[in-house]
Amino acid sequence: MRKATGFAGMVVALGLTAAAPGALASQSRLDSAWQFLARGRYGDAEDAFRREMERGSREAARGLVLTLREVGRYPEAASVARRAELWLLLGRVLLDQGRTDQADSAFRQALNQGRADSLQAELQLAVLELERGNHAVAMGLFDRFVDFYNRGLARTSEDLAAVAAAARFLGRSDPQLFKDALRVYDEAIAADSGNTAAWLELGEMFLEKFNGTDARATFEALLRRNPRQPGALYGLARVARFEGSREAEGLVRRSLEVNPNLARARALLAEILLDRGSLDDARVEAGRALSVNPREVDALAVLGAVLLFSGDETGLEALERQVTALYPRDARFYARLAEIAARSRRYDRAVALASKGVQLDPQAWRAYAVLGINQLRLGQMAEGRANLERAFAGDPYDPWTKNTLDLLDVLDRYSVRDAGRFRLAADSSEAELLYLYLADLAIEAYDSLRARYGADLPVPVRVELYSRHADFSVRTVGLVGLGALGASFGPVIAMDGPSARPAGEFHWASTFWHELAHSFHLRLSEYRVPRWFTEGLAVYEERRARPGWGANVTPDFLLAFKEGRLRRVGELDRGFVEPEYPEQVLHSYYQASLICELLAAKHGPEVFRRMLGGFRAGKSTEVVLREVAGTDLAGLQREFEQYVRTRFGLALSSISAGGGADRPARSPAEAIAVAASRPGDFLAQLAAGKVLWDRGEKGRAEGYLLRARELFPQYGGKDSPYWYLARLYRERGELERAASELGRLTELDASHYEAWLELAAIKETLGDLRGAISALEQALYVYPFEAHVHVKLAELAARAGDWGRAIRERRAVVALGPTDMAEAEYQLARAYFEAGEVEAARRAVLRALERAPSFREAQELLLAIRAARREDGSG
């Protein structure tokens, strides 16, 4: 990592030589003007430069052009530059407006004049050749800068920056040259730390090479000198985007306050708005950017995305033709558009767009990366890997590419197996175990969702279960650190396997169901389903699958509802991507699921298919709601609020902030006092119950816990009253009551692993074999890696004569690789034998005896198997 150097000694070099007193005064005024510009006092700078220009100072004209350019007054800047015959500057201002032909003429004029800035003009001409698609010509021109540098012809900071820029372009073919570019940028900045353009280009290069840390340091160094520098504010906004920070919008808006015509910043704002789902606003902002500079690639890409997301294929085709005319061999538009498309889960379009990009420019490494990543998301594993390899060879700095290639190496070691319409991939060390449960679950989920949506998914659906969360994160976003549990790309589902997280932390089976539901939503909407709707519907589908699956209501959700902190229905998408408080993402999932419940209750579950169809047609949520549900966003908001009040009436009235119940009590006495003073407060009652429980005063705790349960019966969290009461009743020997509490708890929260185990034990004691079996089955959907649970389930199944289940559980024990494998294989053989699967029993007992030839019980079983085979003539 590099650190940007500071601005120490930043004094604009103005070539002060011995001069007359009048000249010295003039120079002093110019110095002040440059200082104004350097510190972002643009009005003062303009006035000062204008006054000196009127006195005939060409330097003042240059300063004025730079000032006007920095605040986006391009026509005025061009006019001044033209009058003062500042051709290089004129060319740059014209480029800001996308007027490349005129810029070309200006740069040639600068070159012909043979002035000190001719090297920079030559660079600009080379860049224009590149944009025209004359790659060989452009590269030849860039190559000359290496000679200039080696012959010592690049002496000024500006010339050195031009050499660095040339090296950066040459890096397309040789990524090592980026290091040279970095070095020469350093030299340029060392020669003149006030060379703002060099700083900005350096920051851009860091961003281009995915180095957010140094990019941030570079832009921040500029902003310490001039907090209003629009290019640096824009650069920092991009860094913030890169880092996933919410600062981006504020920064880019600050940039546009200084320079409302900074087309790139305008395009970035448009993209931010687009990601928020505000298509109309994004279109307006992109239009503004293009009205300043019709060639602004990022703005064109955003406009393309707006057309794509609104289903305007004709408009998109026209735009593509327009872009190709502007940039005949440039992939940037397609790479950017593909990236945006992928962020909105239009993976198939991302692949198609990125493919066009690499056809236009075979050295478009970013386009190859986007192409490869999205091919992988569609399950095109070989093609995806090949394109990522190409991308990495051309640009080894892209961590997304590097991480994903590393991930593919991990995936090579995964075991892959087909089950029905599914292709299941899991870590070889646990695949055998997971397949025992996942295969049946996947088929059940598919059949259920197929019936619901009346559609099939393309086969095979690839399901990847990662044993390391970091691998899942890379698979999903290219980097580690993703908080999610699963992701659906449509034909590919990637998710944390149960070993990726501590036992009981998540319900892997319901997560799978959730992701498969997404695959149907993506399919039916042709990837146009809004985030809030597909998330809400997927949680709703979880809840339909089994009691206790899917997110459930929590006190903090109800509090957020009461305090108006939940996102309104119309902006619920933002609750997922731009949470206003940490819990808002989880609240948004639950909120969206309630909206789906409400829609289903009012219009029947078939409403969902109709809504997905509306989204497929490119209609907005507002339009879809009006057409399908006969309401609008405001109406749905009202209905949602009423629904929550009706459904959680008592609980809502029992939840409140303040009064001491929403924070840990300082002492048991305080908790009890608060509970006594607030008998209708759920949190106060629960806190008192818990504190007494922790002190061992369980009998006293019961009253508070019962009151808490009565106030908020829908609460099934890890610390719900049901959990405490169940254990209390069990300790008292009141097993029926304990089972009842646990039954209600697990109906609310099926991810409560301990509750399932407890319930199974109680059910067994009560002689409810089926109930015990059912509870353990559900426990395995939370955490399937505890051998003793499988052994218990196998024993219960055997007692119930359920040999199929017993066999599965004994296979699970073997799959867990126990130390005593001979015993595990013997027990499996017994289960097979009891089930009448004699040949399978024979093989299993041979495996047991192979390890332990003198294993008496296994020997006897072998002899019994042999006798049985003789009897039926197979042995």
Binding site: A822, A852, L862
Partner: protein, 327 residues
Amino acid sequence: MRGAAVACGLVLAAAAPCAGQTHLVIVSGLGGDPQYTEAFYQWGAALADAASKLGVPDTNIFFLAENPERDRRIAGAPTREEVARVLSRLEGKVQGQRSALWIVLIGHGSDRGEPRLSLPGPDLSARELGQMLERFSGARVAVINTASASGGFLPVLSRSGRVVVTATRSGFEQNQTLFPKFFSEAFSGTGADLDKDGRISLLEAFVYARESVRRYYEADQRLLTEHAMLDDDGDGAGTDQPSESEGDGVLAARMFLDAGVLPEAMVADAELAALLARKDSLEARIAELRSVRGAMAQGEYEKRLEELLVELALVDRAIRERGGRDR
């Protein structure tokens, strides 16, 4: 766990019991903290109890631990001098292949250039222990250092005819180990008899403890901080995956705490002796078949394996019917 060559198992055709005397020295080192002092004592005591139950005479068990007054089984304080004294006493008692010496070290280890076990007073270094063991050069000796940072003991103590087990693979693994807990448990519990022959070999105890440690860490969602190693081919390079059939593990598979002695009546019964001889022969053929498994078709292998296993099952049944025990 079976030894491939079945050196001292049950090749007992009317011969005198070949089991020799096992001597067990347990050193529960300096705890430094009541919690560790107690744990080291408990693990050592559990192992001493298990050995006793397995038939090791109490006079052959030397348990050195802090606070000797707390338990009459404790023979003395776990000092370097006491260790030297005990080993000196055993000179002459442990010799030849028919007797064995097990030294189990429990506690905190360190390795700042020289691997050591922390004891009250001067620590015991691997080099010093090696010197103390020189007097047992002809005997079967197993050193099981279950302490943290114990990995450095292995190359220092390794030599032909000696089993060296360490709880860690190097001196860098300095966290308190769980290996001793599970190593003791292997002899006192029920899960370590992996080949179901009724005996726990040193190799089985090692595998049991290693796997138990691994599962413990996995269940706790923690990274494994101890990697047990075993060396018994004298090359000074241990392995975490020893095998009963080749390389490291062969000798450990043949070392048992229990004596493996058959009742006199069984030894005197000629028919029973013949059955036992047949049993050993079959076991040897099964081992041989397993060793060539890779070169055979699966079906053919299973067929031949089944034939041998069925015959062995019938022989074992006959042994039991004659009032004997198959192990």
